[in-house]
């Protein structure tokens, strides 16, 4: 079996962050990662560069990389820009959608439903982000797709940092509603559904309270409560 690619490793780390196993502020040592994934340190540096671009890790010169600690304001900015991007994606989609693409989207939402029913957290995270990514790619706009990738990564980190419960709220029902409007060609309704969906996701976050600043060592030493 071939060694993992930089993108694959980056996705693994992204998942760990989204699943809150890696918490904001945690150190990411290059050598450690290299051994864990069985790759060279040079490749790890590529991975960290990718994750830094996506806002998931922050690097300090000669100090190393850490899981990023997003601020409340940054969280709001991300959702603000995300609304704009997703609106644009929907506008573009209207001219490009066909039955095949609609079927693919419907199948995707069905997978989300299954994951929700079986409470498969990892699948839920992957698929809920994947839905928005899929929309962006179907809009056939390279720039928007890349931007959406960044925004989804950042949203995952924000969700991991600020959400109250362990439940993922980017549920399949609202995705389904968006698809329905797209299918009937109602741009206005689709845009509105998307806006409502993003509002809903953002509203479920704890963006008014203080952030969870617990680091790994502290977290490990503190007993429950």
């Amino acid at each position: 079996m071939d060694a993992l690619s930089a993108e694959q490793i980056a996705e693994r780390i992204w998942l760990s962050i989204a699943e809150r196993r890696l918490r904001p502020g945690m150190r990411l040592k290059e050598t450690e990662l290299a051994e864990l994934f069985g790759v060279s340190r040079a490749k790890v540096r590529q991975v960290l560069a990718i994750l830094e671009r996506e806002g998931l890790v922050a690097s300090e010169l000669n100090k190393g990389a850490f899981v990023a600690e997003p601020s409340v304001e940054e969280a709001r900015d991300v959702f603000h820009i995300r609304r704009s991007v997703e609106q644009r994606v929907i506008e573009r989609l209207i001219d490009r959608l066909d039955d095949d693409k609609l079927a693919v989207l419907a199948a995707h939402v069905e997978k989300e439903r299954v994951a929700n029913a079986t409470n498969d957290q990892r699948a839920i995270i992957k698929l809920s982000g994947g839905f928005h990514q899929m929309l962006a790619e179907m809009s056939e706009a390279g720039f928007l797709s890349g931007l959406m990738r960044d925004l989804i990564s950042r949203s995952s980190l924000i969700t991991a940092a600020f959400r109250d419960s362990d439940k993922y709220n980017c549920g399949p029902d609202e995705h389904d509603e968006i698809i329905a409007h797209l299918r009937s060609g109602d741009v206005k309704a689709a845009r509105k559904a998307m806006a409502h969906h993003l509002d809903h996701v953002e509203k479920e976050l704890r963006l008014s309270g203080e952030r969870d600043t617990v680091r790994s060592l502290k977290d490990a030493l503190l007993l429950s409560e």
Copy 2:
């Protein structure tokens, strides 16, 4: 003399692209760049990674890096997102502006005016992008600043690829108008002025043009200075 940093080299190449010495489609060989800038090939790869993130170069696996060739649709997407980002920046700025910052902005526009008067193309390019970057940074939003940096880079490439004349149209007058509205605290007017400014820049582009032939890499970079 210390070796150039990756960011410095990236900026030099960005300038070369914005000044149309490096044209879309031109090959960027790693060894050649390494020799021209007197750095190792590893550092050149860092530079290319930065430029790829900013959409200025496109890399193909095992083929190398080329100056990106933006499409007309991509150009429209970039301006669309840019409007959203700059609107958000203005909203944030209203709460944060003080006399000092306004003075800095005014001084910057004055520099632009001088550069325009003396027809200093390189300064014009740097300063006109710098104005928008400065606004983003004054809004104290790390995410927006980073995004703006990308958008400005992409806009520079788009402008270089699609503009009719050799004149830069992101003139200081419209920048001045935005500042005036910011000074008087009129958010609505400032947003409108910004929207008009971006519309104006986009409208001056030739969105059905063909590209021209390439020159040698060495000539295009003009390393002497």
